[in-house]
Symmetry: C2
Subunit: 337 residues, 2 copies
DNA sequence: TTGAAAGCGCTAACAA
DNA sequence: TTGTTAGCGCTTTCAA
């Protein structure tokens, strides 16, 4: 691997000082009153030889790595991968590189990737948190690290959060089933912090109509087969159910699998899923879903983070929680068939 | 943000020299014959204050960033995200951070992210290439940069490649339809380099039985709606088709959508998809698919790359192409119904 | 308008 | 066995 030219080499070849060169390289030519000719000469030469300043040297010197660390539950989850790719795009344009790491919803894993990213001197964090990580976040926060929390948040921490109205979404999904004549609505969810508001939304509607709650809260670390098995159990032991509201995409898939294995009666169950999926449109019946505004979420996250990273510690945006409404995409699965 | 201790600060506090400290920090204590007590003292203190050497300083000094750059077509594609997360896991354990960037199948985008990653001093590349990128890859190659090519490859470049037997897979998928009685098999694919072998596989089988080819090659940059539209067109203008083989996951989704909009006759078409998907199992009929061995692919890629990065330029593994076989997962969509 | 040089944090050759 | 010190490539203060 051929060694790249350093700024000294280039300065030498150009017969200018490194200072001058550095100024021009950083677009401070005007500001520092470098002569037009010199600026031109430098720029031409740079382009010609394709010189690129070494990022590491620059980072070490400036203390900024121009890197953003993002921690999601699981990058294979379409919601996360879409948010991540939306963010990546804008980050790139702003000169930042995005490093995405998965926590797999495990506390230790999450702590260790935060540490890793920290050791890598990321300039900012984007985190989808899980229970138990509060302290770590509080530490980063008190250290004044630019950071945006998304997907769910801890109200007791004064962080900058971007979330959707999970409670309202779950409430409406449940109501939607109710309004279509379903009275025994089951709710299948995960034992994850991010699901709490959805549970609240469901419970809140059920209580408001004095219906019976049927909640299945699954450990988050089960695989597809196991979840399908658990759901099958749940459905068969709760014969009165006429409809189900799934709290995530993945659960819906397992749930549909489970339903398809059961007898005819189940083919008529009402179904709603939290999180939309391209395939829901293709299925028969089409699956009614709560859709999160992914584009808006990702763009809000990255713009605020960029803003925080550009601003000096003291006058950063106030901590706040931005809540996006969700959409109910009505398809046929939520109707009586 | 509080300033972190440097190695000098710590050396001072410990009353040892930076050299000693650096050696111990890098696990060279034994090798450099540092006394057991000193090693112990250092390790204890390090742990106590939670000191972590600055990565940038280290990288600048060693010339290794301990970072791997991966370029995929689109991180939202489940195939890529699964390969990426498999790689990330192993890379992390080996002390490497993975940066994943999407090319969106655009040449310029791909060139610019390769440049970006290069400027970021990544130690190795993992690339899913597209047409037109040959020269860039050849440059990296002649520069002796550790690199693994996957998904598809250019036989004329002597790179290290990890691919599946696309041709054989497509051949068998087509044969499978044939053996189930379908005689007018359409093939819907994309205008991407990575699809060429699949086209060959299809063509090869069709020719071997003297059947008629029906190929729809779509521009890769269409969105879901447009693709659905094009497929609908294709199906209605080729009334003789009794089955379709879709070249990618995403095409299958659009295709199913298109089929669902057409009249009853289409409900009986034979269907096979290249690339499996969790949902294929849930659909009715279940979609028969060619499944790539994702785990093996990702593990092979990263292990070989780690190996290349650990080895001095001259005695690296010979360039070679590792080809994995694919599996045909038979479900009901490929039977006469 | 330009140059010299210190410093960012770390590694490792060399000296002691 | 430990300490000194010269880089790694860049930014930026200070002086000219």
């Amino acid at each position: 691997m051929k060694k790249k030219r350093s700024i000294y080499d280039v300065a030498n070849e150009l017969q200018v000082s490194v200072t001058t060169l550095s100024f021009v390289l950083n677009g401070k030519g005007q500001e520092k009153r470098i002569s037009k000719e010199v600026i031109h000469k430098i720029e031409t030469y740079i382009k010609e030889i394709g010189y690129q300043p070494n990022h590491l040297g620059r980072s070490l010197s400036t203390g900024k790595s121009k890197t953003i660390g993002m921690i999601v539950g699981d990058i294979n989850n379409p919601f996360f991968s879409e948010v991540a790719s939306g963010i990546e795009k804008i980050a790139l344009q702003a000169g930042y590189t995005l490093i995405v790491a998965s926590s797999n919803n495990e506390l230790n894993q999450m702590k260790s990737v935060i540490k890793l990213l920290n050791d890598r001197n990321v300039d900012g964090f984007i985190i989808s948190p899980i229970t138990g990580i509060e302290d770590t976040i509080a530490d980063l926060r008190s250290d004044n690290r630019p950071m945006v929390i998304f997907n769910c948040h801890f109200p007791e921490l004064d962080t900058f959060n971007v979330v959707v109205d999970n409670k309202q979404g779950a409430f409406e999904a449940t109501r939607h089933l109710y309004e279509n004549g379903f009275r025994n609505i089951g709710f299948i969810t995960l034992d994850l912090y991010s699901q709490n508001e959805r549970i609240e939304g469901y419970s809140s509607f059920i209580e408001s109509r004095h219906l019976n709650k049927h909640i299945l809260k699954l450990p988050y670390k089960l695989d597809y087969e196991q979840i399908t098995h658990e759901i099958t159990q749940f459905l068969t032991t709760n014969q009165e159910l006429d409809s189900v509201f799934f709290s995530t995409n993945f659960l819906t898939l397992s749930g549909l699998k489970a339903l398809s294995h059961l007898d005819g009666k189940y083919a008529k169950m009402g179904i709603v899923s939290f999180d939309d999926h391209l395939l829901y449109d293709v299925l028969n019946p089409g699956i009614t879903a709560i859709k999160q505004p992914v584009k808006q979420i990702s763009s809000t996250i990255i713009h605020h983070l960029l803003n925080m990273m550009d601003t000096s510690d003291d006058k950063r945006t106030e901590p706040q929680t931005i809540v996006f409404p969700v959409d109910l995409i009505v398809r046929t699965s939520s109707f009586r068939r």
